[in-house]
């Protein structure tokens, strides 16, 4: 795994009287233990990866508490895991990235929500929406509504986030309904503090085993006819129970404003309803109008919804009654809350004007600026007495400044998307693909989720579609029959195990599809933080490996065996740094007369993981005065033509440009900067593509042996005789 969480693991042990300082997602993790969670599962993915990573690394402590932790193969298996809470009084929590993960989990979620739960079930989703999001922009909210799941969207301050976890379990049990706790990207990574409580060891756990399984109860099956009754239960019993609990426990927060109309204090004629997660942003926006202070005390009354589904009709009505207008601040589309609020007010004959998406932008993240723009319109219409100038000037100044800078720059700034790491074993594969297409013509490339999707950026620009994690092979099933040339599907080993084996390989084999699948066997789910998977090389192999530089993924054959077992006949494994071999293998796959599915496994261990082995190893050897060979690539700038075709074939971060030392040359020359890990791609490309002969590989032998030193001296002597300055 990329990060070591030893410090965080210690924090999990904190108890009453101690203060936790750290990341939001870790506060949530701690809150799970304070809530007496019995089992935890999930599938990694930003921004919630750390929850599971820490739990996995806290193995020993979890055993002490009797908590079971499972790194699930995908979100569906994580959701299904919550089935434990249907019969048993077990508190369970699972986590994943949403909305994509929730899509994968949807089947199990529906079948969990219908019978409902006995023990509290909490689903912690990272709402990957807005800035920094890496997935399609949709709302998890829809899943809560369609399956009658509870949806918590806590005000992003650590004490409140922790309270919502604890209350979330209680709420889930009070209404026998699973709850989703939704955290935005920044809320997961927010660093703050809260006062800890002691962790609770669950009553029923790995340490306290139950003698007998639950008695058979047809009503707990998501199976007809039980399902018909369960649907009724949702709206006749569970949601009403949830609403009662939300009111009684004050899960939603009412901040009465200082604004007053007429005599009665705090009797504001306008108000704001906001998703908990947006509270801080709204307060900062109000500060631009001088309508709130640094501590959140605002002029306007605010109903903060820590629970966004279900809403409590009487709470909404009480807040709106007596107000001329209320602005609903709700991020994302469509405006589910706004619609529900309008409907509930209409039913209760409360005729407050409700605004939301009519004044605020429909799509995209609600930043302070976006909310302020909506507030300007809202206040202008309903509170002419309030000062708008300050905010308006601020907004105008921002716009003017941006325009001015664009003019000063005269040219658009180049983007800087993420890219393959230095020495990444996937980069050479795409160099080979680029070369192969020069020989056999362009092919349709079905791309997938994972590091390899960086090949959609410069200098490669490969990938016609991305249909989901592990979906690449399946996504070309309708394409390849229509094209003269074979289609290529690229998939990571992460995607292969998450989904690709069944949705892709099995289907292609069964239908005798003529297709090419390229699997990046780097040994980890690298893009999500290099978590281990079933095809990860064993720890003892890593420990005993003589040369820590070498890739070790070839020691694990789970993928190959699985493919052969399921019936793949055309199977090639190519070390990914062998660009020319890979090019030839790709060309063969595209042109061979053999029909059916052809699989190429590009074998090369994630460079991040290798460097984590190599660095301490080399440091140790040098400390002990042992022999170490340092490898680096370089470019002779007097030979470099300044054409940069090497860069167009690689894009390595350490292969870059510098001004030429030669005053005659005007174009910058290629150079290899420090950070080069000597992966060998430069040399491989120089040969596979016939680049200019300016590349060299240099080996520096530290602490050389006597024989070596003598030989080197002899060579220098002879060479010196013939060498020109």
């Amino acid at each position: 795994m990329e990060v070591s969480f030893s410090k965080e693991v210690q924090q999990l042990r904190q108890g009453k009287g101690e203060t936790f300082h750290g990341e939001g997602i870790l506060a949530i993790t701690k809150a799970l233990l304070q809530s007496g969670v019995a089992y935890v599962g999930g599938y990694q993915g930003a921004p919630v990866s750390h929850l599971l990573d820490v739990m996995v690394q806290a193995e020993d402590y979890m055993a002490e508490l009797g908590v079971h932790v499972e790194a699930c193969s995908n979100e569906a298996s994580a959701a299904a895991m919550l089935g434990a809470s249907i019969h048993y009084p077990l508190r369970g929590a699972v986590t994943w990235k949403s909305v994509v993960g929730t899509n994968v989990a949807a089947d199990a979620l529906s079948n969990l929500a219908s019978p409902g739960v006995t023990g509290g079930a909490l689903i912690i989703v990272g709402e990957d929406y807005g800035e920094g999001a890496s997935v399609i922009q949709e709302r998890t909210h829809a899943f809560a509504m369609k399956s009658s799941l509870l949806l918590l969207d806590p005000r992003p301050q650590l004490p409140n986030m922790v309270r919502m976890v604890e209350q979330g379990f209680a709420l889930s049990e009070a209404c026998n309904t699973p709850a989703i706790l939704q955290l935005r990207v920044r809320a997961c990574h927010v660093r703050g503090s809260f006062e800890c409580a002691d962790n609770r060891s669950p009553a029923m756990s790995r340490k306290a085993l139950r003698d007998e399984p639950a008695t058979f109860d047809y009503e707990k099956l998501a199976h007809p006819p039980a399902t018909f009754r369960q649907e009724k239960l949702k709206n006749e019993q569970r949601l009403p129970a949830a609403r009662r609990f939300i009111l009684e426990q004050g899960l939603n927060e009412l901040f009465s404003g200082t604004r007053s109309v007429g005599s009665s204090v705090g009797s504001s004629d306008i108000g704001l309803i906001v998703q908990g997660g947006l509270h801080n942003t709204l307060v900062r926006a109000l500060q631009q109008f001088n309508l709130a202070d640094a501590f959140g005390a605002a002029e306007l009354p605010m109903l903060v919804l820590n629970v966004t589904y279900p809403l409590v009709p009487e709470q909404i009505a009480d807040f709106c009654r007596g107000k001329r207008a209320v602005l609903v601040v709700e991020e994302g589309q469509p405006e589910y809350l706004e619609h529900e609020i309008m409907a509930t007010l209409r039913r209760q004959d409360v005729n407050t004007a409700i605004h939301g998406k009519d004044l605020l932008q429909m799509a995209g993240e609600y930043t302070v600026e976006v909310i302020a723009q909506g507030l300007v319109k809202f206040l202008a219409r309903h509170a002419a007495d309030l000062p708008l100038a300050g905010a308006q000037n601020w907004l105008a100044a921002n716009a003017a400044r941006r325009r001015a800078v664009v003019e000063q720059l005269a040219a658009p700034l180049p983007p800087r998307p993420p890219q393959f790491c230095t020495g990444c074993p996937e980069r050479p594969v795409f160099s080979a693909l680029k070369l192969a297409q020069q020989n056999v013509g362009p092919v349709h490339v079905a791309a997938d989720i994972g590091c390899h999707s960086f090949a959609t950026f410069e200098p490669f620009g490969f990938g016609h579609t991305i249909l989901g994690y592990g979906m690449s092979l399946a996504s070309r099933a309708g394409v390849s029959p229509m094209l003269k040339r074979r289609a290529l599907a690229v998939m990571g080993d992460g995607g292969f195990w998450h989904n690709g084996l069944l949705t892709g390989v099995e289907s292609a084999l069964f239908n005798k599809d003529d297709a090419v699948l390229l699997i990046m066997k780097n040994g980890y789910t690298s893009a999500t933080g290099t978590q281990d998977i079933i095809s990860t090389p064993d720890d003892e192999i890593k420990a005993t490996a003589e040369n820590k530089h070498q890739s070790l993924v070839d020691r694990n054959h789970t993928i190959e065996n699985t493919l052969r077992g399921i019936g793949v006949e055309w199977l090639r494994t190519v070390p990914s740094y062998q660009v020319d071999t890979m090019r030839r293998t790709l060309e063969e796959a595209f042109t061979t007369e053999t029909g059916g599915l052809k699989v190429i496994i590009a074998e090369g261990e994630c460079q991040l993981e290798r460097q984590r082995r190599v660095k301490p190893w080399l440091a140790g050897l040098l400390k002990a005065g042992k022999r170490v060979v340092k490898v680096k690539y370089g470019v002779d700038d007097d030979v470099c033509s300044g054409d940069h075709s090497c860069i167009r074939l690689s894009g390595c971060p350490t292969l870059t440009l510098k001004d030429s030392d030669d005053p005659l040359k005007v174009d910058p020359v290629a150079t290899v900067i420090e950070g080069c890990v000597g992966c060998g791609l430069c040399g491989e490309n120089a040969h596979a593509a016939t680049l200019c002969p300016s590349f060299y590989r240099v080996e520096i032998v530290q602490n050389p042996g006597l024989g070596e030193r003598l030989l080197a001296a002899a060579r220098r002597g002879v060479i010196g005789l013939f060498q020109k300055p």
């Binding site: 501590f295 000063q408 020069q438 005798k512 003529d514 007097d638 005659l664 040399g683």
Partner: protein, 500 residues
């Protein structure tokens, strides 16, 4: 400092630079000082070297002074409301400015003056780099206070990570009243972090000094002294072949000079045509071939440079393996013209039939006696070059270029100048060189009689992408006929079974 609003710090960096650590240090700094603080980030796939941002808010009043009141802090930076903008890379600093975060009234901008080029900038066959001078101007004119210095250099000097140097720089800015913490408080936090403390403190100290020196003073733009290109060019050509070849260079430069005098008798353009023409003429005449490469790669100076760049210490052994792939083209280049032409024709037939071009991948150990002597042997083939096909081909094209420039000079200096600059297109080896010449010929064939602007646009287009599509577009705009489509072998796969 407004005591009733949080101090806001936005950090823009690239993945893997330790921006997260820096944000952590700042929060720790505040907590130790008894101030409420909050940090958030958009790490995304941070370690995958994409652009990342970290945002920190610290309340200027201590918890004690606040008496239990808890400030509500923003999770995201607010445009125009950032007190301190920190960037480890110049372009990212300007990106933050373009996004409106930096305010000329409020924001102190602390940025590295060095560039980490984006892939996008590195792709152009010419120079696709964004103008750093302009970036610095924008940074200066859009911030209340600018401190720009080379963070990368300081990091290397101190042998640490950028975050340590930046932390020192922040401490220096803090001293100017942005943050209520003194230098010692910063250093205590680094000490408490325990990991690589010594190196971090070295970097911190260096960052502190460099930043204090840079505060307010905009870095002076480097003034380049224009060397005597003609002398340099002559030396280059003589070194490439011999004195006679050098003489030929002089004669050709004189032809350029004469042409320019005709076009610009008053010398209003300061002899730019002659100077720039001489520059590219020299590079062209000293064209890249096996002989030259072998010579350059076997020199003492080269061995020393490689040692230096690889950071080899005394007593450490260096091994160099050079990557060569000489092909038919390189070989034919040294053969007599007729023979060489025949060989090339045969090769192009093979390629047309879809056969891979013949070339021999070599990994030559330049530091081994055999490898080194092989290089010297190749370098000694200079005498063959003069009689070779490549030599003849280059001279013919050079002569054609000279005539084109001379003819154009009779009418317009501008046109002649732009045509002279087209020699810049000629560069590289093998395929690159073929592509370059093809573009060059295309322009010479179609645009000699057009205006300067058209020629410049075409030349610049040729240097923006290697596919040639930009050039084709520019040429089409100039009304030039489209190039003949290159024949490339395409292989169809054979369908098997009724299913596909």
């Amino acid at each position: 400092m407004n005591m009733n609003q949080p101090i806001t710090i936005l950090i823009a960096g690239l993945g893997g630079e330790g921006g997260g650590v820096l944000a952590e240090w700042l929060v720790e700094l505040a907590i130790r000082g008894g101030h409420p603080a909050q940090a958030t980030s958009i790490p995304g796939v941070a370690q995958r070297t994409g652009a990342t941002t970290y945002y920190v808010e610290i309340h200027p009043q201590s918890l004690a002074a606040l008496g239990g009141r808890v400030p509500v802090m923003s999770l995201a930076p607010v445009p125009g409301c950032v007190d301190l903008m920190v960037a480890s890379e110049l372009l990212e600093a300007v990106r933050a400015i373009q996004n409106g975060f930096v305010s000329p009234e409020r924001t102190a901008l602390l940025t590295s003056s060095q560039r980490t080029l984006t892939t996008f900038e590195k792709l152009a066959p010419g120079d696709g780099r964004f103008d750093s001078e302009r970036l610095l101007q924008v940074a200066g004119s859009n911030s209340r206070q600018l401190a720009a210095f080379d963070v990368g250099a300081a990091t290397r000097e101190a042998g640490t990570v950028p975050s340590a140097v930046l932390c020192g720089a922040i401490a220096a800015v803090a001293a100017s009243g942005v943050l209520p913490f003194d230098r010692a408080a910063f250093e205590d936090v680094i000490r408490a972090s325990k990991r690589g403390v010594a190196a971090s403190l070295r970097g911190f100290a260096l960052g502190f000094e460099r930043c204090r020196a840079a505060l307010g003073t905009a870095p002076a733009p480097a003034v380049a002294v224009e060397p005597d290109l003609i002398a340099l060019g002559h030396a280059r050509v003589v070194e490439f072949q011999d004195a006679a070849y050098g003489e030929l260079y002089r004669q050709r430069v004189e032809r350029l000079r004469a042409a320019e005098r005709r076009a610009d008798p008053q010398g209003q353009h300061g002899g730019a045509l002659t100077r720039e023409g001489a520059r590219f003429l020299a590079l062209w005449m000293a064209f890249d071939d096996v002989v030259r490469v072998a010579d350059l790669k076997s020199r003492t100076g080269r061995f020393d440079r490689v040692r230096r760049e690889a950071g080899a210490q005394t007593g450490e052994i260096m091994r160099i393996a050079d990557h060569f792939k000489p092909g038919v083209t390189e070989f034919a280049g040294l053969l007599p013209e007729a023979l060489g032409q025949g060989l090339l024709a045969w090769e192009s037939r093979r390629r047309r039939d879809g056969k891979p071009s013949l070339a021999m991948p070599l990994k030559l150990r330049a530091d081994s006696i055999s490898g080194f002597l092989a290089l010297r042997l190749l370098a000694s083939l200079r005498w063959l070059r003069r009689r070779g096909q490549r030599y003849a081909e280059e001279q013919a094209l050079i002569e054609r270029w000279l005539v084109v420039v001379e003819t154009a000079a009779a009418n317009s200096w501008e046109t002649a100048f732009e045509l002279a600059l087209c020699a810049r297109l000629i560069k590289g080896y093998g395929a690159t060189n073929e592509r370059a010449k093809e573009n060059f010929r295309h322009i010479m064939n179609c645009l000699v009689s057009t205006d300067a602007g058209t020629i410049r646009r075409a030349r610049e287009a040729a240097l923006t992408d290697d596919s040639g599509s930009a050039l084709d577009a520019a040429m089409a705009q100039a009304g030039a006929p489209a190039r003949a489509v290159k024949a490339i072998p395409v292989r169809w796969m054979k369908r098997t079974g009724h299913r596909t």
